[in-house]
Amino acid sequence: MSAVPARPASTLSTALVLGARFAVGSRAALGRSLLTAVGIGVCVAALLLAAAVPNALADRDLRASARSDSTFGEPALPAGPGTLLVGDASTSLDGAGVRGRLVLAEGPRAPVPPGLVELPLPGTVAVSPALAEALDDPDADALRARLLYEVVATIGPEGLLGPRELAFYAGDDRLQADRRGLERRIDGFGSAAARDPLDGFLLMLLVVGVSVLLLPMLVFVSVATRLGTERRDRRLAALRLLGVPAATARATAAVEAALGAVAGLVVGGLLFAVGRQVLGQVSVLGLSVFPQDVRPVPVLLLLTVLLVPGLAVGSSLLGLRGVALEPLGVTRQSTRPRRRLWWRLLLPAAGAALLAVSLRPLPVGDVPDTRLVATGTVLMLCGLIAVLPWLVDVVVLRLGRSRLSGGGGRAAVAWLLAVRRLQNGGSTSSRVVSGVTVAAAGAIALQMLFAGLAGSYASNTGADLARAEVVASTYGLTIDQVDTAITTVRDLDQSAQVLDVTATDLTVAGQDLDLVVGSCEALAELAETPACRDGELYLIDPQGILTSVPGAVGQLSSGAAVAVPASTTTVPGRVDPTGLLLDAALLATPSAVDLSTATGLRLDQYVRSHDGTPDALAEAVTTALVQVDPLPVVRVQETAEQSNRFTGIRTGLTVGGLVVLLAIGAGLLVSGLDQIAERRQVHAVLHAMGTPAGVLGGALVFASVIPVALGTLLAVVTGVGLGALLLTVAGTTIVLDPLGIGLTAATSGLVVLLVSAGLVPSVQRSSHQGRLRSE
């Protein structure tokens, strides 16, 4: 009988079968695959989250538009059966914003805001679930004192921007149309006006920010794919001994990596699904989002699904470059090829070149090409990933020869083990750290960009915080209400300094001017009033139009008469604590005018606290004033006001940065655990020889510290360079923020050190659990 040669199985089918067996064929394999899947899964979840941001933002915009009650630019409406009076009663709770609206239906068909079935009647309030929780808190007395209404309904999701938003609609019959412009009359909620597109610089910030956040994730997909590579190489060598061709062995490695990536996609999907439910329960930096709004954009979802396995397979095959899988074992090229620097510098050079192209003079008002800027930024950061392994190699080579390695004792041995480990497998550590480095460099560049652009998106309010931290204005009052308001605010905090002025409109000799009544001390905030005594009056007349006022008798809007003595002196005005300068005005001390019959008075109170908590003070002032007026305007003074969108992007990127930092920490942990698992036997032998556990732990920490220190250095250099380039592109002055840069660098270093320190117990455990038996 002639021997029939067996038909060789195809490379792919063999690789598929073997790859699958290797991935899940044993408990150890399953554990390793699980570790890879978790590592990739964390990254996938972050990528999916990023892919969902556009939809989340769009839905947030839709929700904001749907409940908009703005009448800006629209003609005034007459009262009718379908109109509603709305007053803005927004306030704050422990520093968090509370969106509040007082409503009063003017007819049976008054519009109902989204999220409510019917309008709250006067004296009742509909609150968001988060605000309801806050009101249930036993310590929420101040909040309950501010919301003097009976809670009768809950605002549904359609009426909220996020599930944790603090919001309320209260019915209040004290609203009066046209009383002072704080109330608006509307006949429907919702704004058809399309939201303005982001301006070029904000778009640039957003694109650079998203690139900076996503790159470390992709680095960690590559790191997670290479978990357990030493054991994998041994398995592949064993396959070669059985006659499997080298190409099939490599294909098997690719299949194993692809399966890990697919498992990672599944884990990532699950983490994302769980994570978005969690997002619905928490509020980060005042942002919360409905789970149903967090939906990845289909194109980005597809890109993630294709990119992650592609990257995993590519990374796995690249990792096999320096390895010869021979039937009798794995041989790594004993003299590793020298890492070449030139091609590593090509990437940042190309990035810098693209950014330089964006620097060409632009027509006034034009903005740089965002795609060029984003590509340039990504290339510069990718260059960092490429340069770090070279830098680590060069430095550890010198460290190995340095005098540091010459000592004796535990620290010297730990140092030696770390340096040699880095010399032998430095690329793994560099790869792990490069994720952190990219994030840190990007964060530094962004910080510079934010600092540089902040001026363009901020306006100086002119407020003087030394004179008043909180300013409260109450409108439409009688003199009794004014007195009550003054007393309640003064009673709040005996140590706080409160200055009050009461104002109303006055017509004298055909001229309209403000009548402002207050103590000499209070009037001194508005004008230069030397030798002021009670009974004095002063005129402010920068335009010289009030020459006929002294000696005339004026009339208040309530009809009461006010006599202006002929001796009234004109004084220069002074910028008030809010940054405003009075135009034509008559200033009077309390006994100089009689306001007892006046109505529609405005009370301005300038409050300065001595304990430095203006937010708490503002909340207390609001609580006190709502007893008098349902719509007091209480502001914490700030010297600069920033654009909402600028602040929004900054907040969003900060939240994203936190997520990336957490993901990086998790990735480092997974990678560290894998390295420990690979070295269990070496650890066990060292332990048997009496090597103190501290030496093994120290080696682990040193092996992290060296690349982290180099990575941080590179991150600072690249980050500052990139930031400077981006600021030049944006045509803004280059601003360095050493504290911010230091904090960013320290934070990234701290993450790595904390993770390393957290791994030390695992090292100690592994040295006790490692197998010494070899039969």
Partner: protein, 231 residues
């Protein structure tokens, strides 16, 4: 009784019990080791030989029983104390050498000395002498992955002896070597141990390896039986 058995034992185990889950490895094992003695611990696979060695060396703590090293009760020492004892008094050779893969052979041998506080230059000078003594001076700058099994094992023997320990524990030291290399390693190990007056606990299941010992005990079902006195 061997000439080496004069005087009190250097290392003594009494009534050792050790279980791993439901598996009993030692069930009342007792054994003594005398100064300068080469003791072969034999027995079939899974009989508890390695567990006995690990208990004697203070790597593993027995569930019951005691181990005494001179006046020290090893079984009552802390983990750090036992580590210190192993570092200062014991040396180890394992089946596959188990050298630290990133370090050169020279650094591997010098490591116990450096752990003891010796500076690199001095530690490496001593290590070079031991490598030469074991005929592997030419692999000093190579990494373990770049040398043959026999060379690696001789480097491991050098590492075990470099601190001139009083006891060397060798767990199947020739198990991964061909007979020629195995003979060479055993010859060098026992010669060097005798020169330094080190006692050797030699765990093996090969009779030709046990032939290098002064005394042979057999571990079976977790109990030690003294079967011969060879010298």
């Amino acid at each position: 009784m061997s000439a080496t058995q004069a005087g009190p034992p250097l290392l003594r185990a009494d009534g050792l019990h050790k279980s791993f889950g439901a598996t009993t490895a030692l069930a009342g094992a007792s054994v003594s080791l005398f100064e300068g003695e080469v003791l072969a611990v034999m027995g079939p696979s899974g009989s508890g030989k390695s567990t006995l060695m690990h208990c004697l060396a203070g790597i593993t703590t027995p569930d019951a029983g005691s181990v005494d090293y001179g006046d020290l009760r090893v079984t009552e020492m802390s983990d750090a104390g036992r580590s210190s004892l192993r570092r200062g008094e014991f040396g180890f050779v394992f089946q596959f050498g188990q050298l630290v893969p990133e370090l050169t052979c020279l650094e591997n041998v010098a490591m116990p000395l450096r752990l003891a506080g010796r500076r690199r230059r001095h530690a490496e000078a001593t290590a070079r002498q031991w490598l030469a003594r074991l005929d592997v001076a030419d692999v000093a700058t190579k990494r373990p992955g770049e040398v043959s099994g026999g060379q690696g094992q001789r480097v491991a023997v050098a590492r075990a002896l470099v601190t001139e320990p009083r006891v060397v524990f060798a767990d199947e030291p020739t198990g991964a070597l061909d007979s020629l290399n195995g003979e060479r390693v055993m010859q060098l190990l026992t010669e060097a141990a005798r020169e330094t007056r080190a006692a050797v606990v030699l765990v093996t299941h090969e009779a030709r390896v046990a032939a290098y010992s002064d005394r042979e005990v057999v571990v079976r079902d977790g109990v030690v039986r003294d079967v011969s006195v060879l010298t």
